[in-house]
């Protein structure tokens, strides 16, 4: 079965990609399988300068999910270009660079540099990281700021720009509309939800940052609902994510309105998960009487229960 999808100027051989932050820069997972089998790879967030992240503990398990507060640790855009991208040049899989920052200028600076790299085929504008004190999520929760940063990044990028939306808002449609008006080529949704866990012995938060981003199957229904809401309002391509761990989940996201999906937390439980989903997708589609990805997308248009 042909699994190829077209995504705002990007041609993917299948709709499955690892999500930013859960796959490093690919090297570690290349020990498990050939990265060429992936639809795309969203690499870890880049900021203007190297960041050292939050103090530990940075992760904690929760029921069917996990909290993380890494704090955007990364070697900085120049470090990534110099030390991480050369390895990815060995692959034909499109690489999506996740762009983060504290200020509009930083976003523009990082985006401009990344967009010039040949190996980078699209940008994912991270205006939704809940784990850093400055920058990130305030751009994703205020429609005006979301518009401004998207517009500024669009003006320096020749590559498609996907804006990664935060679920920590009351009205996600408003943000989606703002970034569409600013020229976004697509959306990526959802980032993690702000959560917290306390330890009864110490009576303190389990995570040093106190709060962390909740991910994993626990948040899947929220992701499905938000994608479904936004799909009614826009024709922009959507990379759907939030707790995907099976081929059925992939179809559910496509049915809700996504055009491709990203797999995050599940990579930690099963490092082979992306490859497994790609292998299982044709049969699973068949089990639900779909002959192609396109048929799933069309059926959501004609299904009165999921009307657009």
């Amino acid at each position: 079965m042909n699994l190829a999808v077209s995504l705002g100027g990007l041609e993917l051989k299948n709709p499955i990609m690892p999500a930013s932050g859960c796959f490093g820069f690919g090297k570690e997972f290349s020990q498990f399988y050939d990265l060429n089998t992936l639809g795309a790879i969203a690499i870890k967030a880049a900021t203007g300068e190297a960041r050292y992240g939050n103090t530990t503990p940075r992760v904690a398990e929760t029921s069917s999910g996990m909290l993380n507060a890494i704090g955007l640790q990364n070697p900085g855009v120049d470090g990534i270009i110099e030390h991480e991208l050369p390895f990815l040049e060995n692959y034909e899989t499109p690489i999506i660079a996740n762009i983060a920052g504290s200020t509009l200028e930083e976003y523009v600076h990082v985006a401009e540099k990344m967009a010039k790299e040949q190996v980078i085929k699209a940008l994912e504008l991270n205006i939704s990281c809940p784990n850093v004190k400055e920058g990130g999520v305030q751009f994703g929760t205020d429609p005006q700021l979301a518009y401004e940063v998207t517009s500024a990044v669009k003006s320096v990028s020749s590559k498609p720009v996907f804006v990664k939306l935060s679920p920590n808002v009351t009205n996600v449609i408003q943000i989606a509309e703002a970034v569409e008006n600013a020229g976004a080529d697509g959306l990526a949704m959802i980032n993690t939800l702000t959560g917290m866990r306390l330890d009864l012995h110490s009576r303190q938060p389990v995570i040093a940052n106190q709060t962390g981003g909740l991910s994993g199957p626990a948040i899947k229904p929220i992701a499905i609902r938000m994608i479904h809401e936004v799909r009614k309002q826009t024709n922009l391509p959507i990379i759907g994510m939030g707790g995907i761990s099976s081929a059925e989940d992939v179809i559910e996201f496509l049915l809700a309105g996504a055009d491709a999906v990203a797999v995050g937390t599940a990579n930690f439980k099963d490092p082979f998960i992306c490859q497994k989903l790609i292998n299982e997708l044709p049969n699973t589609l068949g089990n639900y009487q779909f002959n192609s990805i396109q048929e799933v997308r069309e059926s959501r248009c004609h299904n009165p229960s999921i009307s657009l």
């Binding site: 503990p57 940075r58 990579n267 930690f268």
Partner: protein, 253 residues
């Protein structure tokens, strides 16, 4: 690293909340180094999304077995403690960098373990004892938590300390170390960060190695969850990938 389905041969309580599990493994006994760890998948379905990193306590190349020792701390280790003979667990490993021990011959080596930090030091002690003189100081909260005293005694002069004095020396491992006047060549330590810090401060004159514990995500170096600060390198090193064994003089605890 390899993903392997391992069969439980034994899973028994050896001290309060502490279990010893023996697993069959086709690949790890031949490939693993002392101090490396395995990343164990927990539960069925999606209830548990994170694996649990557990250090390797012993390896049996001939029989193709590995031993892990873990303490029941939460839901994940509780699930593990309920595995029975012939149950299968999914394991990634061996992961991380272990102890570099081959260069030691005729050395006087100090082993310092605390609580669930004791297990990886068992294989270290066993190996070092072949060509060296080994002294092991093992600290536990109290008598009911003590394990592997006899096993260590086969290979090392072993001292047990308990925080509450209910067994062995009363006090912490550094109290015991203070009483030694033999000149040690090096030390290898694993335990809670508080203990490691005390040992690090006490033994600044020796070049030793610490094995660190931290909550982990992927266990393979991709997620940046388990990091620790390093003196010579601005920022952090990854415990799962660069460690868990790190130079004592470099780690900022």
């Amino acid at each position: 690293m390899i993903q392997e389905q391992m069969t439980v041969i034994k899973n028994r309580l050896i001290a309060l909340d502490t279990f010893e599990m023996v697993l069959t493994s086709e690949t790890i006994p031949q490939r693993a180094n002392s101090g490396q760890f395995i990343h164990v998948e927990i539960g069925e379905g999606n209830e548990h999304m994170l694996r649990r990193p557990i250090s390797i306590a012993d390896l049996d190349e001939e029989k193709g077995l590995i031993t892990i020792i873990y303490k029941v701390m939460g839901e994940g280790t509780k699930w593990l403690s309920k595995r029975e003979e012939f149950n299968v667990v999914n394991v990634l490993g061996p992961l991380g960098n272990g102890f570099d021990l081959d260069h030691h011959v005729g050395d006087n080596i100090l082993i310092v373990g605390g609580g669930v930090g004791v297990p990886p030091l068992y294989h270290v002690t066993k190996r070092l004892s072949q060509h060296n003189n080994v002294t092991a100081v093992l600290g536990f909260q109290s008598k009911e938590f003590v394990f592997y005293e006899q096993q260590f005694s086969q290979y090392a002069t072993t001292y047990i300390a308990t925080d509450d004095g209910s067994y062995g020396h009363s006090g912490i491992v550094t109290d015991v170390i203070n009483q030694f006047d033999e000149p040690f060549t090096t030390f290898y330590a694993c335990g809670p960060n508080g203990m490691l810090k005390a040992v690090q401060n006490q033994l600044t004159h020796l070049e030793g190695y610490l094995s660190l514990e931290e909550r982990m995500g992927c266990g393979i170096g991709a997620c940046f969850a388990c990091v620790c600060e390093y003196r010579s390198k601005k920022g952090y090193v990854k415990i799962c990938q660069d460690g868990p064994v790190l130079k004592a003089s470099e780690v900022l605890l």
